[in-house]
Symmetry: C2
Subunit: 441 residues, 2 copies
């Protein structure tokens, strides 16, 4: 059978992964698809550097020539960013080429219009690799769990963040210290903002939530909080209470709307998700029929990400000239059946909370604090009151101690009220630390 021809955009880490897999596993892939798949050309920034890789590909610095090449059937985009990538993908789709991309930011922000363009041109835009690297989570949500109304998803979907939090927990290290090591190891970018401030995770959550619930991509609706504010102290107190702190993307469908939020989260230590360490990713999905299922694997890297890009290529090749109606819809739901659910305001989010209050060790402080929560009807699950550190004179007014509260599930607006009132107490010496707690059950 006539080979399917692939044009690669980018030959960096991910692009090389794709080229390597398609070469090394060519025979296995043909056994799966029934026809050969060949990378015919790759657009690169630096021609000399690309040629030095000796991948046996035609390389060019003219990316437009790849997306306009009439012999190419599928464009595999591994450049990242949105300029010139967005224009190249649009051109490829308009030229009737299928497009496979790992570009989470582009899909999360421009996905709705790109999917429309793909439909108009009867081609596929596929992006398994954009979420959780090598874990086939999009296929699980879109197809494997299609019998279910998905209730919620909670995922560790940023390997850099998880590496940092794992190191902080295992070795009692500080955030800044571990971040620097992660940068040296190449796990974190020189500008780590996307990873440590949760933006990368928010892109991925946007994509998963659309597929889980059947709604347009809405990156702007994600509440995003990173891990740069997580301290060694809070990691330690969480552990004393039987929890680990993980950076989670959580999307939940409630009867009144959708919560999409990315934030550091306390998880009971017994949960599998709490035991996912280092740069690994995992996503827990709860469906009304199946209950909880979990998907674990490498969230980044050359061949893990390449594995998902090539899986998308194989999907396209297996059904190469199928009618569009016979393909699985891009977001798992028919495009005209996507719902415009209400996006809940953060004050309506529901969660349990970990609160750390740094207070002066004076009589009556605890009573003042707990009465505020009592008056607001917020149930306390656990209180941890730490002794002043040894060496302090406990009789003195100036000694600070932390009080840690775990609340039951409550509306975020109510917690905000409680925090405001607690912060007005004279004995409070610094702003309340607030982290969310998810039991994941």
């Amino acid at each position: 059978m006539k080979p399917i021809k692939i044009g690669l955009l980018g030959l960096g880490t991910v692009g090389q992964g794709v080229a390597n897999i398609l070469t090394r596993n060519a025979a296995e892939i043909e056994r799966r698809t029934g026809r050969p798949v060949q990378v015919v050309s790759a657009a690169v920034r630096n021609q000399g550097k690309a040629e030095a890789l000796q991948l046996g590909l035609q390389v060019t610095t003219d990316a437009a020539s790849v997306v306009n090449d009439p012999q190419i059937d599928i464009i595999c985009e591994a450049i990242g960013g949105d300029d010139p990538t967005l224009g190249l993908i649009e051109q490829a789709l308009s030229n009737g080429k299928h497009v496979i991309t790992a570009n989470k930011a582009l899909v999360a922000v421009h996905g709705n219009s790109l999917l429309k363009l793909a439909r108009e041109n009867n081609v596929v835009l596929a992006f398994e690799s954009s979420v959780a690297g090598g874990i086939p989570i999009i296929k699980a949500l879109r197809e494997g769990l299609a019998a279910n109304q998905i209730e919620w998803i909670a995922g560790i979907i940023n390997g850099t963040g998880n590496f940092i939090l794992s190191e902080m927990a295992e070795k009692g290290r500080d955030f800044a210290d571990v971040l620097q090591e992660a940068q040296e190891l190449g796990y974190a970018e020189a500008d780590p903002t996307f990873d440590v401030e949760g933006i990368d995770a928010a892109h991925k959550l946007t994509i998963m939530a659309s597929i889980a619930f059947g709604m347009p991509l809405q990156f702007d609706a994600v509440y995003t909080e990173g891990i740069s504010g997580v301290t060694r102290e809070d990691v330690g107190f969480a552990e004393e209470l039987g929890y680990r702190i993980k950076h989670l993307g959580v999307a939940r469908k409630r009867s009144d709307g959708i919560e999409m939020r990315v934030h550091p989260t306390l998880i009971p230590e017994k949960r599998l998700l709490a035991n996912v360490n280092g740069v690994m990713n995992a996503v827990l999905v709860s469906g009304d029929a199946v209950g909880p299922t979990l998907y674990y694997g490498p969230g980044a890297g050359s061949e893990p990400t390449g594995s998902s890009l090539v899986a998308d290529i194989i999907d396209v090749v297996r059904a190469f000239d199928a009618k569009p109606a016979h393909r699985v819809p891009a977001l798992g739901f028919q495009h005209d059946a996507l719902n415009n659910y209400t996006m809940l305001d953060t004050s309506n989010y529901q969660s349990a909370y970990y609160l750390r209050l740094q207070v002066l060790d004076q009589p009556g402080v605890m009573a003042n604090v707990t009465s505020i929560f009592g008056e607001l009807g917020i149930s306390i699950e656990a209180i941890l009151q730490k002794e002043p550190e040894a060496g302090h004179d406990t009789a003195s007014d100036a000694v600070e101690v932390p009080i840690i509260l775990l609340t039951r599930r409550v509306r975020e607006g109510l917690i905000e009220q409680a925090i405001e009132r607690v912060q007005a107490l004279e004995s409070l010496v610094q702003p309340v630390v607030r982290l969310r707690v998810e039991s994941l059950s």
Copy 2:
């Protein structure tokens, strides 16, 4: 659009799960597929009992009338067993109906001929629910990881067995005691042979291995060992050494052939798989590109199993009148590209081993034992020599003590030789206990 009509065979636990999901989630499923899906009739054994369920279905005791009903598009088989099930499925396929089944035994044993019949009639035979209940593991192997040469899979794929081993480990209970509880809870059948002797797991492993490596189904080639011989003592010693005992199905592709084996296995306690407890299932898959990925969820139950049956239905409905060539092949590889790999003899299997030697506490025993392993070139990873129990006269010849050995990875034939020689030692008082150890890395 014209509804797709489903005929159900069986309205037991699983059949009811399918009916409930298709009813409750009808709107969501239509949003996914673009057309309605309706259960129109169900074949049951006891008409009165089935009618009492009030599922709003036409029920009949004449199963043949369902598979021969010209208005029915898809047959969903949830009877189990092979008589009359095999004949009904053959009739349905011959009638040009797609067939969805949860029947692992039938697929493992008769799958090759059934898949041929399905191909000849241009219909799908799908069986996601036959392995690991609600976990979409077949889709992951067949599609999500299609870029990879799968190297090995290792799964906890029998919930009953995992429940029993989890209870033994957590509470220090005996096998027989926990089995009885499992039977009372309804987790184990009155005749528990299929579960506790590993046959059910072997059926599931057969199916996964074919899809992982692209080969015909070969149930007879699976080495099968159950958990009925696992003792509380071995669970305890394993724990001392940092391991948990799990009943695993392991399939491995080596350059010289395939290992397929089901047996109790020591796993390092840090692995996620070692922390999968109770009736839950999990499958770890290692691909050459992606590395390790893990899939976790409920391995049985009405709606979890129903979730996978309905996912298969949705797959068929989404591509209802697609050309057969555009469908994903049943085993993930083109049927004419399946390989007849060599099935390795058990003596060629490779694994690390846990050996428990019950010996008389005499001088020189340890030297005798270790010299046997030394002469055979088997490396010892760890030795645990237990003191005689308090109260015994340690000077007496009659005191028995256990010696536990962990070996490095070795050919099974060599371990058999070592065991034979150890058992010839005079100081050995009972047959050597042998369990396999997998590092899963």
